[in-house]
Symmetry: C2
Subunit: 311 residues, 2 copies
Amino acid sequence: MFTYPSIALYLATVNAFYQDGVTHERFPMILPNPKDPTLTRSVQGTDQHGAVHDLRVVEERPLTIYLNSQEIVTAMTIGDHPEYLAIGFLRNQAMLRDDDEITCVDYDADLQVVVVRTSRKTSYEEKMRKKTRTSGCAVGTVFGDMMEGLETLTLPNAELRSSWLYSLSRQINTMPSLYLEAGAIHGTVLCQQDKPLIYMEDVGRHNAVDKVAGWMFQTGSTAADKILYTTGRLTSEMVIKTANMGIPVLASRSGFTAWGVEIAQQLNMTLIGRMRGKRFLCLSGQERLVLDADPETIPDETRASRSSGAK
Amino acid sequence: MFTYPSIALYLATVNAFYQDGVTHERFPMILPNPKDPTLTRSVQGTDQHGAVHDLRVVEERPLTIYLNSQEIVTAMTIGDHPEYLAIGFLRNQAMLRDDDEITCVDYDADLQVVVVRTSRKTSYEEKMRKKTRTSGCAVGTVFGDMMEGLETLTLPNAELRSSWLYSLSRQINTMPSLYLEAGAIHGTVLCQQDKPLIYMEDVGRHNAVDKVAGWMFQTGSTAADKILYTTGRLTSEMVIKTANMGIPVLASRSGFTAWGVEIAQQLNMTLIGRMRGKRFLCLSGQERLVLDADPETIPDETRASRSSGAK
């Protein structure tokens, strides 16, 4: 049931990336597809001089997620990888278990509905009631559920080298992406050492993370050797979500909240923030960070380079 | 029941602002209070050279909002103006009506609970059930409810001058704020012509808007002559929320989604995006925008100036 919008364009993007001079070990990847005509729309804007411009602007549409016969949530999403988004959302809400077998994922593009079907009979009426009480307007997803089992969670020790961080930043910031094409979008990249593996974008930063989680669940990807890179801020929820995915390293070009840092420290997570140009800050797990690169060899970011998670 | 954390520090901030050389008509204002010790925490971070830094980092804490005897939501918030956040959230969820009389707002700082009491008996069991089905992880609040009555809404025609936009940007970007102090936070400013009136910040951009809505509801502030400035992206939800507040002009230094622009056009809202330095884009209501300032007299933003809604 997994179909990609415009697979030809997707492959063209992948090839363009491999040919754009970035030396990169071949690896199964999902890259953004900025040329997918379903993901952006042409909008006219008038600038400060009164000149009219045609702009490419990211789409935003509701996607309703069902788990078997139960409607779970409607998410505002850019619309790509709906199956991964649905699976990842359900997974990150603890509605899909490790041992759950997904028998089918049906996506109806006209209705904007995706239905995830499992062998196990599921019923989350109680959880849904709880969600009503705990989902917060700043949280973006269900906080109460996400905290479940966190106290028993311990993340594996994982080495992190500063040379990987610099290499990942350079590759991610120069890859073709909807951000570079249209802006106003967040990105999340699943990485291994200095290799970006899966690069998902969405208008909601949590959707981008959920798409990565969905891919990991479907492919049985190991988490212990991965790094999660996000363009979004490192809030408590982002740290908890990453921990629940089993990923020991979380890095962002954006800032962080005090509680996000505190939880990362409690969970033995290596947390990197404000990763821009030669600069970064390690807020947690400093003892596992190896400074093997000379920052002075790394150029500062120019205004042309990515200026924020969602410009 | 309205109490501000550290009123002395708040007043000191206001005075500092008035004395910092920014010419400004005196006007009732609420400004950020970056010196409030309850809003930031000292966190140690290690930089790319291995040097340890003490950083001021914004707090993030849960606030549980009750309407009379019913628990409505738990929001992750920085923690200031809990009463305005609670009232504004309930207002923007259409749980408080125009004619509702608020008899009391009780805030318990230890429990992080705020209770809004009204003369009218309220019961939103049905609405809460609906919320369960419609609240999306990218939405940040309840989309279904927000759409209610939108088709009947028409916003008043409102003039907007480019000189106001430039003046507001300069004032907002140079005001003392938690963003400038610690980053990783969004700001929303209620403005009238070129005057910032109410400047709220929060880790959740929707919380910052809700705090402004709470202030407007409590003070009976008119909306037709106001401009809402936000550091966040102009998504469909942000446009809808602003429209429901009755404000005809929404401006942001960040980008926009296609649906956000489409809804603004349908609602006769003037929408300004990517407002940085001398640049801005008008996406909707162009006919009401008066270009009365020479962009060439406006300096470009430097890297020292605000670089994003949430760095």
